[in-house]
């Protein structure tokens, strides 16, 4: 019977992972927002002479930015993150009247010795708040669209809605765990999420659904081929038949992402981390969670589980 027999264990593992993710997400800050979401500024600076992060932090502290996070990027390159950035005041002709952070930060860094500012990004709080809202809506809309699409794609099998729901459960499982991993990384190593992080989460959704569909497609085929077969056995067979493909695809993707991680700059690194986590979790969930949810549902175990909760069971009996 293979994996289907051990489904309770997989549910338990996933349940614990999801629970841990929810707990860490409820513990503020859920995710450490980068400038795309909180507003602020980010700089990439190259110095001509050897420099330490502490020297840069001290210089920024003197002009009123004790919150600055300075990370080394090798060969006298530093990535600097400021919580906020006061823009220079300009007159009608566009000339600077009162120099604020915009100029002060540049001057402080140049004052340290031969700073070359390679990149300087500023995002206002207005845009940050909008990005948060858009990202949330995008993830919710994407989940809903996927539910509808999978239900429609599997319209020819009995109870297609269950396929759609199981795909969305697997998807929610993946998104929660990926967010949980980043919540923990944010708390431990100050890993920030940016707009590309959201892109990664949505790519994870895409990947997870694609993977789930491959397994479901095989179930759909086997259900048609062996009418009257026990669903548990058909799912088991389908998973066994698709597991090679799932692993090969994930491995190739992981290889590509890992290569990019070795070379790519800081702006897309969060995206690559998400893709990596997402591919691993997505592969796991398509093999175990999506298909096993389907089995549990088809065998009425989901209802049983709810009835086993004391209060719910009593309510149900009372209504009957």
């Amino acid at each position: 019977m293979g994996i289907v027999r051990y489904r309770k264990w997989f549910f338990l593992v996933s349940g614990l992972l999801v629970l841990a993710s929810v707990v860490t997400l409820l513990w503020p800050p859920a995710l450490k927002p980068g400038i795309d979401f909180s507003g602020g500024a980010a700089l990439t600076v190259d110095f001509e002479q050897p420099m330490t992060g502490a020297q840069i932090s001290a210089a920024l502290d003197r002009i009123g930015h004790p919150e600055a996070i300075v990370q080394g990027g090798g060969a006298n390159r530093f990535f600097i993150r400021l919580g906020s950035l006061a823009l220079d005041e300009r007159d009608a002709e566009g000339n600077v009247v009162v120099a604020r952070d915009e100029t002060l930060v540049r001057e402080a860094l140049i004052g340290l010795g031969g700073a070359q500012i390679g990149a300087f990004d500023f995002v206002s709080g207005v845009i940050g708040a909008e990005n948060v809202r858009n990202a949330t809506v995008a993830v919710i809309v994407a989940s809903f669209v996927i539910l509808l699409y999978v239900t429609w794609a599997f319209r020819r099998v009995p109870s297609p809605f269950r396929y759609g729901t199981a795909a969305v459960i697997a998807l929610a499982h993946d998104v929660l765990i990926v967010l949980g991993v980043f919540s923990i990384l944010g708390k431990l190593v100050d890993l920030e999420v940016n707009a590309m992080f959201i892109t990664g989460v949505l790519a994870t959704i895409g990947y997870s659904v694609n993977d789930t569909i491959v397994v479901f497609d095989r179930i759909r085929e086997n259900v048609a081929r062996y009418p009257g077969g026990a669903i548990a056995e058909l799912v088991n067979l389908s998973v066994r038949e698709t597991v090679g493909r799932s692993l090969n695809t994930s491995i190739t993707l992981l290889v590509v992402v890992a290569t990019l991680l070795l070379f790519a700059g800081p702006s897309i690194r969060p995206l690559l981390y998400v893709l990596m986590t997402g591919v691993i979790v997505g592969t796991y969930s398509s093999i175990f969670i999506a298909s096993l949810t389907l089995v549990a549902w088809e065998q009425g175990e989901i209802g049983d589980a709810f009835r086993r909760i004391p209060l719910l069971g009593r309510l149900r009996r009372a209504r009957a």
Partner: protein
């Protein structure tokens, strides 16, 4: 018949791939076939259009007006015209100034690294002046213009944008010609009457080069006209060989100088060209190494099928990049990431097909048959999986473009192009190439096309394997 079909598809593949490769190798495409004109390419790698993060440059997003005073579409148009004029003066090669939503501006200035100077230029309030223009000796009114330095001298009149009440486009009721209508505030009408009276007098004293009335915005002449009569009521009209569109634009620009809207910086970003070049180089190395690893894995694991897939994936990469160049799509780091994800999808489609082929070969089918069944069986999951990814890319695109120019848009666009191309590659290129290879003598050794040992042939080394029981042309019918 079957053979003919296959040769036709091989020819189609050759044509598509040739077009893809040659459009990438020709740095600048300059095609004029009369009915279609195609000009694409740049000085960057493969002639691709690189985004600011890879080529270096400045990007600014401004909010115009405020929630309480939202700008009108005409005001936004005027603002865009004003900023375009100023940026042109800065000498930026290919500036882009776009409206985001209804009240935001996205300004992209490739190659501009002095963001402070760019802000000073863009953030300045538009200044509209009404000038008395005296053409230099020897210049007719038609000849004295901004393009001929020293052809005129402007005298201040004490009137400027703040004295204007409105400007609009109109039409002469009898001749139907386009007119620019303008009106001054009531308290400026008297001064304007004196000015126009004076200008009108020069018309009669020196009819060959009379002085003119000029509307000057930020030092650029919008329009200069000879006065035909004194304007006493403060409202006048300018006639000329204007098209209705020219008059409309003039009116909008005068309005933008009359009532400048405040703009607030929402976000800005500057990337030095050197850093952009570094990112591009890193991304290229990563891309080439990643692609090589995948190709190697495919060929090592799936053997001959993998080699075919590797060739198809190289074609796929060329096709996607060619589409980027021809549409054109501006390539950013986020776009490259989208391309990588779609490359994953393309690999996946091949893996799905090969795994199915493997199963068919396992139960003893001949190679051509296994190829055909493998494709058919894999197709439904390739289709459904790709459609769901397309849906998600579409959602990303909608939310990425709405109000701010986020990198998400670039990711979504390249993911969409990549997924569509990968479907095409899997069902047309991989399939036909494999069918062609399967029709050659190689088909005698199905072992070459699957990673697992086949029943009854496992022990024998591949080179000594007995010929397949059936002729290769039997399958695929």
């Amino acid at each position: 018949m079957l053979r003919l079909l296959r040769w036709k598809s091989l020819l189609t593949i050759v044509i598509i791939v040739t077009v893809a490769f040659s459009s990438l190798l020709v740095q600048k495409i300059n095609l004029d076939l009369g009915f279609i004109e195609l000009r694409r390419g740049s000085d960057d790698i493969l002639g691709l259009q690189l985004g600011l993060d890879l080529a270096g440059g400045t990007q600014l997003i401004y909010q115009a007006g405020s929630e309480d005073f939202p700008p009108s579409p005409e005001q936004m148009e005027g603002l865009i015209a004003t900023i375009t004029r100023r940026v042109d003066r800065l000498g930026v090669a290919e500036p882009s100034i776009q409206l985001l939503g209804t009240d935001r501006l996205l300004i992209q200035l490739p190659g501009v690294e002095d963001i402070q100077a760019a802000k000073a230029l863009i953030g300045a309030t538009a200044v509209l002046q009404i000038m008395e223009r005296i053409c230099a000796d020897g210049f007719t009114p038609r000849q004295c213009s901004d393009s001929v330095p020293g052809s005129y001298e402007d005298r201040e009149t004490g009137l400027d944008g703040s004295n204007m009440a409105r400007a609009s486009a109109g039409q002469d009721p009898t001749t139907g010609r386009s007119l620019l209508l303008f009106e001054l505030n009531r308290d400026a009408a008297a001064d304007f009457a004196i000015l126009t009276q004076r200008l009108f007098t020069t018309q009669t004293t020196t009819p060959l080069h009379p002085d003119q009335l000029a509307f000057v915005l930020d030092g650029d002449t919008l329009v200069a006209a000879t006065v035909q009569s004194a304007i006493l009521a403060g409202n006048g009209q300018i006639t000329g060989n204007f098209t209705p569109e020219e008059v409309r634009r003039l009116a909008i620009q005068i309005e933008s100088g009359r009532l400048p809207i405040d703009i607030t910086e929402l976000s800005s970003s500057v990337v030095a060209a050197s850093l952009g070049a570094e990112s591009l180089e890193d991304a290229l190395v990563a891309g080439v190494v990643g692609l090589a690893l995948v190709l190697f894995f495919m060929a090592a694991y799936y053997r001959a099928s993998g080699v075919v897939a590797a060739v198809a994936l190289v074609f796929y990469t060329a096709m996607v990049l060619a589409i980027f160049k021809l549409l054109p799509v501006t390539l950013t780091l986020a776009g490259l990431a989208g391309f990588i994800v779609s490359l994953g999808m393309a690999v996946d489609a091949n893996i799905l097909i090969f795994e199915r082929m493997k199963e068919e070969l396992r139960i003893g089918r001949t190679l051509p048959f296994a190829i055909q069944i493998g494709f058919n069986r894999a197709w439904t999951s390739i289709r459904d999986g790709n459609i769901s990814t397309l849906l998600i890319a579409g959602i990303l695109f909608l939310f990425g473009t709405s109000t701010a120019n986020s990198p998400v848009t670039g990711f979504a666009v390249s993911l969409m192009i990549g997924v569509l191309t990968s479907m095409f590659t899997a069902i047309f290129i991989s399939r036909n190439l494999l069918a062609i290879v399967g029709a050659t003598a190689l088909a005698r050794w199905p072992q070459l096309f699957t990673p697992e040992p086949l029943p009854g042939r496992a022990a024998a080394p591949t080179s000594a394997a007995p010929p397949a029981p059936s002729a290769p042309s039997e399958g695929g019918a």
